[in-house]
Symmetry: C2
Subunit: 411 residues, 2 copies
Amino acid sequence: MIDLDRLIARIEQLGQVGALPGGGCKRLALTPEDAAGRALVTGWFRDLGLDVTTDVIGNTWAIRPGPGDLPPVVMGSHIDTVATGGLYDGTLGVLAGLEVIESAIEAGVETDHPLAVAFFTNEEGARFAPDMMGSGVAAGALPLDAMLASRGIDDATVDEALTAIGARGDAPVGALSPAAYLELHIEQGPVLESEGVQIGVVTGVQGISWTEFTVKGRSAHAGTTPMLMRRDAGHVAAAIAMEARAIATDFGPPQVATVGRMSLSPDLVNVVPERATLTVDLRNTDETRLAGAEARLFAFAEAAARDEGCTLTRRSLARFEPVAFDAKLVDDIATAADRLGYSHRRMPSGAGHDAQMFAPFCPSAMIFVPSRDGISHNIEEYTAPEDLERGARLLADVALARAGCRKGPRA
Amino acid sequence: MIDLDRLIARIEQLGQVGALPGGGCKRLALTPEDAAGRALVTGWFRDLGLDVTTDVIGNTWAIRPGPGDLPPVVMGSHIDTVATGGLYDGTLGVLAGLEVIESAIEAGVETDHPLAVAFFTNEEGARFAPDMMGSGVAAGALPLDAMLASRGIDDATVDEALTAIGARGDAPVGALSPAAYLELHIEQGPVLESEGVQIGVVTGVQGISWTEFTVKGRSAHAGTTPMLMRRDAGHVAAAIAMEARAIATDFGPPQVATVGRMSLSPDLVNVVPERATLTVDLRNTDETRLAGAEARLFAFAEAAARDEGCTLTRRSLARFEPVAFDAKLVDDIATAADRLGYSHRRMPSGAGHDAQMFAPFCPSAMIFVPSRDGISHNIEEYTAPEDLERGARLLADVALARAGCRKGPRA
């Protein structure tokens, strides 16, 4: 089972909603483009005769009615994109979930737990902060009222945007209560492709620490100021950037460290910078290690600023502890991949996903398929058809087993 | 001789032309504010009965008529300012020159060489590139036609701006031919103040090398891309910045190195930078050492980019060889300072000045007085009255001696 052509056709059809001239698409959360995407996908849900529910923040799920009242096994992800998004990030998890259900129906497969497919509001966080908003609210990790009041880059609130596109439902927070949560997603990184591995069995999500450092020194003439009399904010910033790299090297994988932003002021060739700001993004799957990386970085930054006669302030922009997925469910994915003959490796997710919001509340796990060149959040995003098929087949296998396949062929 | 009150009154009066609300002033070259400054200063020249001449690029000088036809001893600098200029940069050299001549006239002092005072067009380079334009043209180091065609930050050419404010004269290039050139200037750095020294005897001007590096790597997700698979342009930029500092440290004074500009692209917290640009400003008084600093920096940058899998391009934004001032004239300044009882030290100029343009063609030298907190190009620029007086008296002493004082009291 799994009709690859149908899955790809839907991915392409949804990709036409908010399509960008050069390829890829833009469906920022709760915009008219997102509304059109929601309508298309919800239409497919209804075409299959599924029970469709939308909650107060626009999360939408479709349940294949089952015989009893057991909670559903939910396959889900999101259909909003970043401003220069591709066709697979999020979309694959939703449409593969739909494909699993449609295939099961066609094959006459029955399950103890109903199968469900869901898309969650504003996973990307590209319009409204924070990201993973809808799944966070659904899982009870984020407060509904504060999320509704979140103001987007266009100054509209989530509340206003929900009303504007008619995406607000009446199901309350907590209405979706999965027996298990499974998310198929593109890797968004280069590891699987570079190692020639077909499937990533995701063990959890890295903890994330984002810090913005601001260094204040003294502007001075680049020609007339002896080196020993300088208080060069830019030098301190460069030193912190080098230390971030050194921490990643010394700690070893999976520790990563990235300086994505840096700016100097007044930003003139011949003026010693008075002020510098930079951001450091640290990630690790182990909370103790992540905290250790932060501690080393912060201590270094303080000392570097002090040595240069500068002052340092730092601000946390984001901090999430690592999330571990359900060990049994992770094992089930690996076992199923073996049975299907797919090469696989265990790996953490370096990016955040809706699955992490459900992990504290129900058995949750993720399946990764390769991203060509590791590219994502980019119109060049691409995953080959055979990888889409392997991912969807594995998702079907694990979801059906978890739901308790009672009748009909196994995937 | 030297009437300090008169000197200060003129500095303050000229500072009112283009005065900024919070202090300081803005007289960008060849703007209406510069025109008003020129009119004020030229009026003072005429009030003293000096012969005033303006050349084809607006350089203006005033000669005290003398008995013979010997070339003049010229005291000069500039009266244009940067956008947030102070009251002393340039202005002091011009108004102190005027004060020397006025005092000499009042004291009945006669000289073999006429005394002259000059201001040169667009020394700052804040509106038109390059800086030291007028003195460069006057000394024959810069081609007139190319300078007239130089387009300013407001898109006007020097030619158009000269016409617009009526600052063009009819004296040809080369009309000013000094017997010697002397320039009193604020230090624009912290050395004299920090060492408690009253006078800087300037031995020359540091050579300057400005390089812009552009590093091209590959953007990648900060969470999903292992460190060893990154091509992080920002990391290379930070490494180059650290090497610039290391070069200054290893070479020792007077080598200085400054990274004044740095920018990352796409400049997002969670994206490995695809592109980074930074500038490095290297200065040394010794050409061989300066070239050595460049060679080490360039080799390091190439290797750092290669190690990270990035490409590197570099572009020279400016390159001037060091200028040595006339050894005899420099000695004369030191001797005169001793005679006047002023503490002094020899030092290079870290900034460019009009004097360096004349250095190849006539004995030239400069005198520095302290800048409070080393601040210049800033409305907070300040030099204390007693420092102004010492500078002007020393200038008078050296200028009169060089001009051949024939009659009347010595300073």
